[in-house]
Symmetry: C2
Subunit: 358 residues, 2 copies
Amino acid sequence: MAEASVFPDFLAGVKAEVSNILDRYLTVAARQYRAVNVWGPDAAGRMRAFVRTGKMLRAGMVVVGFVAAGRRPGVATMRAGAAVELIQAGLLIHDDIIDRDLVRRGGPSLHVQYARLGRKSGALDAGHFGEGMGICLGDIALFMGFEILAGLPAASGPRAEILGLWSDDLCRVGLAQMQDLNFGQTSPDASEAEIRRLYINKTGRYTFSAPLRTGAILGGAEPGLKDRLAGLGEILGLLFQMRDDELGLYGRSADLGKPVGSDIREAKLTLFMRKLFDGAGPADRRRLARIFGNPGLDAAMIREVRAIAERSGAREALRLEMSRLRARAGRMIDALDVPPASRRRFYSLLDYVVERTK
Amino acid sequence: MAEASVFPDFLAGVKAEVSNILDRYLTVAARQYRAVNVWGPDAAGRMRAFVRTGKMLRAGMVVVGFVAAGRRPGVATMRAGAAVELIQAGLLIHDDIIDRDLVRRGGPSLHVQYARLGRKSGALDAGHFGEGMGICLGDIALFMGFEILAGLPAASGPRAEILGLWSDDLCRVGLAQMQDLNFGQTSPDASEAEIRRLYINKTGRYTFSAPLRTGAILGGAEPGLKDRLAGLGEILGLLFQMRDDELGLYGRSADLGKPVGSDIREAKLTLFMRKLFDGAGPADRRRLARIFGNPGLDAAMIREVRAIAERSGAREALRLEMSRLRARAGRMIDALDVPPASRRRFYSLLDYVVERTK
């Protein structure tokens, strides 16, 4: 179990450095945008508070990719990590509006913060006001991320490659988010294969493949290594999202920063849910249909879903798929041409992705 | 009156070239993103239809800035223009969600198109589904714009300068949009000076200053000219937005692509509205208060607002301010160190901004 803390410790180190960069960047932004209007420093302040609460896993991936190329990370790596965290913040702010998530990382989502502000200031429609302000703040976080990427202290070749990578990848993330929205609303019959592809496009890319490749580009890795890291990132993304599905039902809300069962309440079609519906008998399927998307979801219903997950074999099937993917990721790590310390880091990352509790 | 068509003719020429670039880019995107999911080609198709309906004023400004630097526009200029049009599309798609505008350029707004699709496919909450899809599409348009800017066929110095310019400027546009939302909802007492500053930050920057500067950077203009063009852009932005205010009450809905009076129905605090409230007597002010933000706004109410605009002197005050700004812009054009053909183009642009009917 000592191994389990190796990766979180590494991440904490990255977070300390990247937080400093973000703090400085957002302090300058607050000063600079004070001239625009009062919302400039307000936005910078909210963003600073928001990025601080993250694990900074994506910034960590930039560092991991850089180290894989055999280099010691410096200021360009950490700045790229900061950019990726701002982009992640922008996507999450928009996602919370789209998914109507009121809680994020244990606090009110950004659009909820603005809705409260609107209510206090007498906005005609505080809910919509909050969403509008949140759309703007998400846009601003994305622009800030691109600004840092465009100004990375690196040669113009790698810088252009990184900008091209992110703008293309983020288009794909946007399309995956559209598909996710449809799985919940208009296409409840999506297959396991479709959901896996969604996980790769939505989580795999911007959480693992793109940050790993970004680090590798900055580190001057040869093209083969960059591609292998991106391929490994897809598998890590799948595993990460499957662990997310599992934690959504079996985790602790204090760890998750949101209520257990929120996926079920929001009728979110996860891979776990797909296996659950497909593995359950007719009577259990009827029970699930009453619970799935039920706004009055309570602890008894969550216990019932857990019981169905056990007796239908859905949880076992999820665990089995995760074990196989973990073994596959291990083989991919073994095949990487990277320094020994980097290989150990990839193994601790893999442990973390599968075993994390938050 | 022959003069009035000089600038629209120029713009039509730019539009033809930029449309070709956008068509090609979005055709490739549709093919490439088909591998992600069905929403890839769908998004590219909707975007192609949307950008085609624009005047492409912002792409025109990139060309005007380039020509001011004494150069003949080539492929880099037109590609930059295409990027700016995609960024504009992303901002408009988000704006229409924020402002609840159902109609844009004579057709349903993008989020309304998606809401209809959701309704047909049985979405649980088609309105919110449409907004969620629209947020994603707006993000994608912004990423595409940045992708084209990052890949401009230009030296790395100017390319980095352009990317830095747009990411900073778009942060400011986002903050101005936040302020605009507050003027409508929580701060109905904003002063004329505050509204003017909003116009400069919201419209002036991304419609005029940033595209003009982009063209000038590509054309290798010296710093002094770039700054003077950006300064002129702010005045043009003010004039453009004031003309918008005026057309919102006196224009023809067929020209505007949206109903006359929509600003009034949506309780949007424009500079014209500010002058109207401030110039009206007590009885007229009470009449205005009943009409402003009234969802049942009809033709009789619009006639009443027009009558109040005349007798309060608000329209005259608006026209006077526009005349003064026009003279100031003329002096700024005279002071530019640009080729004679470029100076004539600036004058035809100024005529267009003040006299346009759509």
